[in-house]
Symmetry: C2
Subunit: 245 residues, 2 copies
């Protein structure tokens, strides 16, 4: 175990920040750390939008479900899978970007954006900052795109709020690694492994809430799979002209 | 700048490894570091398949385009966006996983998998290992899924080869951060920024290849957008019953 793996294993999401903006230098280091992540065939097919405008933050916080830590934070970043840049470059050279609307290129852009985001998260925590991913911007992906003036061939995937933490916490226990890791082929895992993990998570909630919550992980998952949500995303992506082929 | 951001900014892909397998402890630390990444609503919707079997590695290396560093490496990992686990959990509790085939859930699984992968990459480099992402497994995503026995409701996204580096290299210069970073809304960027970057990349190739290559970044991008590739991926994902709604 070294300092970096120790940091990775100590990660927890922060949901309360000081009202203190990040400096330009901090933002630049975060963005450049994000950019240093691997990128498929060097396409760098993503954009990062830093939202400092309080009006936009307020509306994003509302869309995400009334999250104050989108408004009161160091900086709020939105990660965008971005093939518009590539399209414009191709067209400026009179090339037809024929691969633009393929599912392959969309996957590349989404994965590129996510790898960059996680590098930013790791960089932020190494700088003593706290982070929380905000998937809740997908509650109204169309309005978010209007607000941030996202062009066609680009998708705002998620936000990350980064700032000076006003709270400390501790990592939430992940699945035993044997449930995630498979050797040479995908394996059905033993029920006993899930049962042991369920106990850990139930205890975790019991301790954190003084008994107000005590559900198991598998209960949480079963519940989460019941209700389809964000059913506009498929049509939104098609309207952005991505993943059509 | 601290040790972690220094490491992030020093990243380069390694494409030649010693023929020395990673230990079980190393693999476990890599997987647990991956798992420590943020996960949407705590769903942990991914699996990691470690491929040590030389026959499977050989076929994967062939699919990826004859990449020896998929075969000769410390360990080869395939990251899988995995909603099959959630489906099985829901069904074991007699719940209907009605959200299973939504585009939203597919995005969650893809992003979860990518965040985990980047944590693994960062952990590996902190341990003195080298890494290279292998998107080339998507050259024949159907065959890869057969080989690794990937069930429905799961997608093998990419591989990562991790091992003891047999080469040193240096980071490939990313776009100036102003091209990636936007303030409050998506902005069209100045041509001069691209031109300056093109010069950097052309010089980079010239120096590395003794003049054999000297293309600019925008030339590379325009070329890469011309030819649609991997046109089977859309149908594959549909056959896996993901992103249908």
């Amino acid at each position: 175990m070294n300092q970096t793996t120790e940091q990775l294993l100590s990660h927890y999401s922060v949901r309360a920040f000081l009202d203190k903006p990040l400096s330009k230098d901090q933002i630049r280091l975060l963005v450049e750390s994000a950019q240093a992540a691997s990128t498929s065939n060097f396409v760098q097919a993503y954009s990062i939008i830093g939202v400092s405008d309080p009006k936009i933050r307020k509306e994003l916080a509302g869309i995400a479900g009334g999250m104050s830590y989108v408004e009161k934070t160091g900086q709020f970043f939105v990660f965008v899978a971005d093939l518009n840049r590539n399209k414009e470059i191709a067209e400026s050279k009179n090339e037809n970007p024929a691969s633009l609307e393929t599912t392959e290129k969309m996957l590349v852009a989404i994965i590129d954006a996510a790898l960059a985001a996680q590098n930013m998260a790791v960089a932020a925590e190494s700088m003593g900052l706290g982070i929380c991913y905000i998937g809740g911007i997908r509650n109204d992906i169309k309005r978010v795109s209007e607000l941030l003036k996202i062009p066609e061939h680009a998708i705002p995937l998620f936000g990350i709020t980064i700032g000076y933490p006003e709270q400390n916490s501790a990592p939430k226990p992940r699945m035993p690694y044997q449930l995630v890791y498979h050797e040479n082929e995908y394996q059905t895992k033993e029920t006993a492994l899930y049962e042991a993990y369920d106990e850990i998570i139930s205890d975790y909630y019991t301790n954190r809430t003084g008994g107000a919550r005590n559900e198991t992980w598998t209960e949480q998952i079963a519940l989460g799979m019941k209700k389809p949500t964000r059913l506009d995303i498929k049509a939104f992506i098609e309207a952005q002209k991505l993943g059509l082929k």
